[in-house]
Subunit: 419 residues, 2 copies
């Protein structure tokens, strides 16, 4: 019989000892394993076009336009309907993507490597705020901006990251994340410090390596205007860390939580690649001006990888200023952190919360504790408009639905605890 405690110790030890480092960039088709020429990766558990929500469909259409597979949104929709593209979760390719998470072959991605263990994770670059593909927008300026990111931002950033890799082995993301938690970020809905520290870290290498220094002022301004720029790096770091803890026979550690805008799904370290899914929640958000509660799509995005790592909504006590973006009071926010200690296996040894006298963040969700306590994980999240093309409606907090955890726990009991 498997020793579950021991298995969980092994899984959590791999999670805590992860050393995510930004080591390079590349085009998705060149660096993400098993990505075909017509692959479209998306957030959350598997889903087909028919069941995709509005923002996910909008992002798919944007990707078809960006790739040149379609000339108009109508054509893009037809291609997707006909099955002329191949949908697959990012998570099946060591990748993650915020919101719709759509990643197409010619999109640049960050490559994050997990120290000595060496497993790699991938994430696209953050597009900025407003009408963006990840929120389901596909208008011409959205596509133009994606092309700017491909042809101007990417070659320069790629060269800078390569220079940093040659000089010092890359950019240590764990270090930046640990510092950022001491600077008011929780690293999901607030990445202002992370973005700043990454900016500081990469700037000299960018100048040394940029193919065209004349592009750099625009590039610096683009990053400076988007405090979420670091989110995609943090997500790749979190994916590299959590994936290392997956596949430990007998472990009840939750290694994936992800939402595709229709369903949310979880995976468990000791239960292989099986997804346990249920309907995705409706986030409780602070709405942007001009939007109503009825506009909000069901929960979407792989960014739940931050809470799977033990930060994001689990580290709200470190980020009192976030309530200006997500609503509520700093005291309410801190309460979520305390609650999450109830369903996690340990306190992080690197990610700490100064105001709690440097207590480690609640780390390693135990699916058994979730069902025993009836407490499900709390996530920070963005909210997309439910119609394609309308963009972001707000940002806030979302409580994961219990059903997926109940199913996973039942399967775990079935496999390991019944005779």
């Amino acid at each position: 019989m498997v020793d579950i405690d021991k298995a969980n110790q092994e899984a959590i030890s791999r999670l805590l000892s992860a050393q995510p480092i930004l080591v390079g960039m590349g085009l998705a088709k060149d660096v993400i394993p098993d990505m075909g020429e017509r692959s479209l990766l998306h957030a959350g558990p598997p889903i087909d076009w028919e069941n995709m929500s509005g923002p996910m469909r909008g992002a798919v259409m944007a990707a078809c336009l960006y790739e040149g597979w379609a000339e108009t949104p109508e054509e893009a929709q037809k291609i997707a309907e006909k099955g002329d593209v191949c949908f697959d979760p990012c998570h099946h390719h060591h990748a993650v993507g915020p919101m719709a998470g759509v990643t197409s072959p010619n999109m640049p991605v960050f490559i994050v490597e997990n120290g000595d263990r060496g497993n790699k994770a991938f994430c696209s670059m953050n597009e900025g705020l407003g009408k963006v593909m990840r929120m389901g927008a596909f208008s011409p300026e959205v596509i133009e901006h994606l092309k700017w990111m491909r042809h101007i931002l990417y070659p320069n950033l790629q060269a800078g990251v390569k220079k940093a890799f040659d000089a010092q082995g890359g950019i240590d993301l764990k270090n930046i994340m640990a510092q950022s938690l001491h600077m008011g970020d929780e690293m999901h809905n607030r990445n202002k410090a992370g973005t700043s520290l990454f900016f500081r870290a990469i700037a000299p290498f960018l100048i040394e390596a940029a193919p065209d220094v004349g592009d750099l002022p625009d590039i610096f301004r683009f990053i400076d205007k988007n405090d979420h720029f670091f989110l995609n790096l943090a997500m790749a770091a979190a994916k590299a860390s959590t994936e290392a803890s997956h596949g430990v026979e007998g472990s009840s550690l939750v290694t994936t939580m992800a939402r595709n805008g229709t369903e949310m799904g979880v995976r468990i370290s000791g239960l292989g690649d099986q997804w346990f899914t249920c309907e995705a929640a409706l986030p409780d958000v602070l709405l942007f001006p001009g939007f109503t509660k009825d506009d909000v799509n069901r929960d979407i995005g792989d960014s739940a990888i931050m809470e799977t790592l033990g930060i994001g909504g689990f580290a709200l006590a470190a980020a009192p200023a976030i309530v200006q973006f997500i609503g509520g009071t700093p005291e309410d926010a801190a309460k979520y952190t305390f609650e999450m200690y109830e369903i996690t296996m340990t306190e992080n040894n690197t990610y700490t919360i100064p105001s709690l006298n440097f207590r480690g963040t609640p780390t390693g969700i135990d699916v058994i504790k979730v069902v025993e306590t009836g407490i499900t994980p709390v996530l920070d999240t963005g909210a997309a408009h439910k119609e394609p093309g309308k963009g972001q409606a707000g940002a806030g907090i979302v409580r994961m639905p219990a059903e997926a955890f109940n199913k996973a726990a039942a399967a775990f009991v079935d496999k390991y605890l019944e005779d």
Copy 2:
């Protein structure tokens, strides 16, 4: 008879409405008013060579070497002893300087202008950590580094700031400071967020304007390696803000607190340019490795301008992570903030503390409240080794001695409250 409440309202209104903006840079001799060719500005109230402490003397010697007035430390000392240089407080020239605060004619300074009111303030550039002039060091590498700052850092940064001024009227320091308080800085001993946000703000302009882009990687790395870089900008911003509140007939607002390593002195809005002084305190610091309590010099520096503005030690509740640098617990640190509400006139309308539900920092020290409550201001501070040339010994907290406030309050009562 003067209406003291009304006078204080006027003074505090000027303090709160200050809009400090970085508008340019220049050499001290060219931009600081009434600075002669042999002027050496220093921190704190007036003092002569005979009474200067070790670190102040060391910094004076460094400046004599930097200016080429002396070839050796011995020659530098002789020049200073003979009175061949003219000592004057920074504060007499709309300027401030951290620690020894020594500013000589050919040192570059930031020029900060206070919005519509238009009064200007000046501060040198931060030298970085370790053996530096402001801590009393004067070895050849200290002087070499000052020359690098003059001939490489300054021309590039000056060009970048000019470009920012031409494009957008300068860099809004108040905005950076307000954001930084939401990112764990208190802006005296912790300026990590301020340094990061300034880095982001200036980077594109630096690339556009730098006389030699090849210098920029070194410049970016220099700033990146020194989380205190922003302190000198924050000090100039604080000086521009507090000076606007000085000179209001009948106001008991403390508009200057400064220490020269021997004495500390205060000035009061309604009491003209008179200094009220007493022996400087001995700071209670977290010692750097290899230093002992006996090494610590008496309190030194104009950086008390941060608390005079209402942040720094007064905003410790915003900066829980600072205890890693200054010792104690986050809870202890927060207590100082609560105490400072007892001796201040108002709560800041711009500088706020997220964890206290965005309560404004305690702002505007009332000398009458200080003597009535017996509570004197608490400052964050660096500690210099008391011998010249030895550098920084630690960092911590220092409580201002009551005597200077008692003298000032007595003079205030004498002038305004006695018949």
